[in-house]
């Protein structure tokens, strides 16, 4: 009898725990996203630089100018908090006329005062992303309040409108914060209230921050007083799910509405499956192999070209990326104004061998190939290693974590490296500078980015980059960008391989989701759920 009742109680308990479970569908007004949010460290727009953090603050804040969203994102400049703008005759002073009645989440009105404060704050805090602004707007003195709704910003050089808009509309440092609210949290040690703003929101965007528990979730709710009207969704939740398989399971079971980080082969599982939709968009993200021109034998252009001809680009895109990549060899990615639509290299081992022989290395050589121990980079490195073996070059792969790899890369100590580059702001100038500007490989170089790290000193090309920066005629400027790309493709240290596809999977009751090429610019303002 005793035994029987024990079994009874036990089975009741087990059934209680698992049997009566029901899986509530996600609520209609709450969009739940499963994604790896571990990169988010703080939410202060003056500091934010990472994709996922930018995606969060994109919903919380607004900038002076905006870009059209969706697939055609960044093609047209749109008004943001500034309704119109004009430029002085000398081309140096931009005057922004703010829209009246735009409100912060606190209910305060957005005024010129807030704009001046936000840019001043970002310049004074001086965090890593500030270089985008202070290369043209070096000091807070350049920003002036004209009247309650007018701000003027003076740049140190003439800027084409597109570049100006790209800088002013950049996520983070381009966002306007609520001066009154932020100042009320300032202390003597922390005059810009960084400590407070990294965990709170003081924006005027379509959503306001409700909760951010690190490694757990970010919850936002609709801001009813938004100047464009309240967003369709009531709530937006980003659930931290570092494991991709968990994201996949949760999406299938309906516990999340959207999975952000699935691998291409996991994405394929959802293709054609009822109830789900795959949203894809070539990303503004460049994956490349770089060779250090400061190290022999990569100083020889023929060696570099031989390597570019040896790589099996197709195998990398189809085999390693599962087709989830757009082939391309220009450093301005597909879809961006100024993109050079040209494939200069296809695998041709005979040509590669010939070039290597002409360069004086008929038997090849040995070199180190640096990469991160993460997929798909390590697989790409392995493919390149195998391809190079075909022309007698033996590449020794060294896998190191990002911190160690970039340390070596920045010290110009690598030989070959597989790495990637994201787009900082929506203008090709943000790529010509890092990829082509290098007057000297020494420590006093003006720009110490990719060309510099690979010691690709080329004064002539650098002149061209600087000339393009000054060119005001938009068409001519784009032509110059294309010429720079062609020359880098031909001569430079990079074998650019592809631009990966951004892929997210949604449940088919989620409507109006348009993925831009820079996915952190994804706006949830118009997104809604039918059930």
């Amino acid at each position: 009898m005793k035994k029987l009742s024990f079994v009874l109680v036990l089975s009741l308990l087990i059934f209680g725990l698992i049997g009566f479970s029901s899986f509530a569908k996600t609520p209609k007004d709450n969009l739940i996203i499963g994604m790896d949010t571990s990169i988010i460290v703080d939410l202060d727009p003056a500091r934010s630089y990472e994709l996922v953090t930018n995606l969060v603050i994109e919903q919380l804040y607004d900038g002076l100018v905006d870009f059209e969203g969706g697939e055609d994102a960044f093609k047209t400049i749109e008004p943001g908090l500034a309704k119109t703008w004009d430029v002085s005759d000398d081309g140096l002073t931009w005057t922004f006329h703010l829209r009246k009645g735009a409100k912060f989440h606190s209910g305060n009105e957005v005024t010129a005062e807030d704009v001046v404060y936000s840019f001043t704050r970002a310049l004074e805090l001086d965090f890593a992303p500030i270089w985008m602004l202070n290369q043209f707007v070096p000091s807070p003195d350049n920003i002036e309040k004209v009247d309650e709704y007018t701000v003027s910003i003076t740049t140190n050089t003439k800027l084409p409108e597109r570049l100006m808009a790209a800088i002013m509309g950049v996520q983070g440092i381009g966002f306007v914060v609520d001066k009154e609210v932020v100042e009320s949290h300032a202390t003597e040690e922390d005059p810009w209230a960084y400590d407070w703003l990294q965990r709170n929101d003081a924006g005027s965007g379509p959503f306001e921050l409700v909760e951010w528990s690190k490694n757990e979730r970010v919850v936002m709710k609709a801001f009813e007083g938004y100047w464009e009207g309240a967003p369709e969704l009531n709530k937006l939740t980003m659930l931290s799910m570092p494991e991709r398989t968990s994201q996949k399971f949760s999406l299938s079971k309906g516990d999340v509405d959207m999975a952000w980080d699935l691998l291409p082969n996991q994405v394929e599982d959802f293709r054609g499956r009822e109830g789900f939709e795959i949203i894809e968009q070539p990303a503004w993200d460049i994956t490349y192999l770089a060779m250090n021109i400061g190290q022999e034998p990569f100083d020889n252009v023929k060696v570099r070209k031989a390597i570019k001809y040896a790589i099996n680009y197709e195998a990398i895109i189809d085999g390693i990326m599962d087709g989830a990549a757009t082939p391309g060899q220009s450093f301005v990615p597909f879809g961006m104004a100024g993109y050079l639509d040209k494939i200069m290299y296809e695998q041709d081992l005979d040509k590669a061998k010939e070039l290597l022989e002409e360069a004086g290395y008929p038997d090849g050589f040995e070199a180190q190939l640096l990469c991160q121990p993460t997929s798909p980079r390590k697989e790409i490195a392995t493919q390149i290693q195998q391809d190079l073996r075909g022309i007698g070059i033996s590449a020794n792969i060294k896998q190191v974590v990002a911190s160690q790899m970039y340390e070596t890369y920045r010290a110009q100590e690598h030989e070959m490296i597989v790495a990637g580059w994201g787009v900082d702001y929506a203008d090709a100038q943000s790529l010509t500078m890092p990829f082509a500007h290098c007057r000297t490989a020494s420590d006093d170089a003006a720009v110490q980015q990719l060309a510099w790290r690979n010691m690709a000193v080329n004064p002539e090309l650098t002149d061209l980059v600087e000339e393009a920066n000054k060119e005001m005629n938009s068409e001519k400027r784009l032509e110059m960008f294309k010429e720079i790309q062609e020359r880098v493709m031909d001569w430079g240290p990079f074998a650019i391989m592809f631009y990966p596809l951004n892929q997210v999977i949604i449940k088919d009751n989620v409507k109006n989701l348009k993925l831009p090429p820079n996915d952190s610019y994804l706006e949830f303002f118009d997104v809604y759920k039918t059930s």
Binding site: T26, Y49, S213, E216, K253, V400, V401
Partner: protein, 324 residues
Amino acid sequence: MVVVILGVMTIAFFISRVIPANPVAAMLPPQAPPEAIEKAEKKWGLDKPIHMQYVAFITKLFQGDLGTSIRTRRPVLDDLRRTLPATIELTIVSLVFGVGIGLPLGIISAVRNGKISDHLSRIFAIMGLSMPAFWTGILLLLVFYYTLGLLPGPGQLPAYMTRPPRITGLITLDSALAGNWAAFWSGVRHLILPAFTLGWLSTAAITRIARSSMLDVMNENYIQTARMKGLRESTVLLKHGLKNALIPTITVIGLRIASLLEGAVLTETVFSWPGLGRYSTNSFLAVDFPAVVGAAMVFAFLYSFSNLIVDLIYAYLDPRIRYS
């Protein structure tokens, strides 16, 4: 105990600083210009010689300051306070699973030595030990969540459920204290799969040791005496046999606590558990020195503390052991 913790921290400090990686480089995006890196190095004191850094670190430590995490930019102490409860909750429940399954299996194996149930329970235990936690975790999710739909998926609570106000940091306890029984129930159910994944790891060790010490004890004279006195078999087994067999078992359980913390790293990732395991992995990968040393301190503390508890339990089980 203090010496152990201090020693572990010192070793962690030096190891994390001699490896050729730059935490600042890991933190900033690849686009960051060199000036930004230099400035950040200065800010974090990484430009000073290592012994100076150590002196500064120890001085601060005695003021109760573990420094600021380079990655999260928050005081390490705050980070630990935030992440530790989730891991403790997971570890305790998985220990309950480990002991709750391992101990009975061990006893059954011993009593039915050589019979089919002995083999089966040993196979079950060995499986737990042989399968890596991330694989077990994904497999359990596949079966009980994805296919059967019997248990909830990753996370501590469903996305739409609000967390109870933070008192202890343990979700189940906090929701019970707040009287929020829906959250409590959901929290318990969310605990089952990750705790079982983690607990299965311990089952093997506990089953093995429980079985062999039970076998030893059952051959002792006092067991035969007890049987001859005409006591019921269950009394002989549980009161005379088990109590004596428990001493070596407790040792193993104590040691398992440390392994549970190790396993927590993988389990927490698979189950989106916002605990210390994930925090320390992310810190290791980012070469976040202060956080790594802080996490090492907590692990050292938990390890020493569980050993202390084990010693105290000995004294309770075996009155001959007394500590002065």
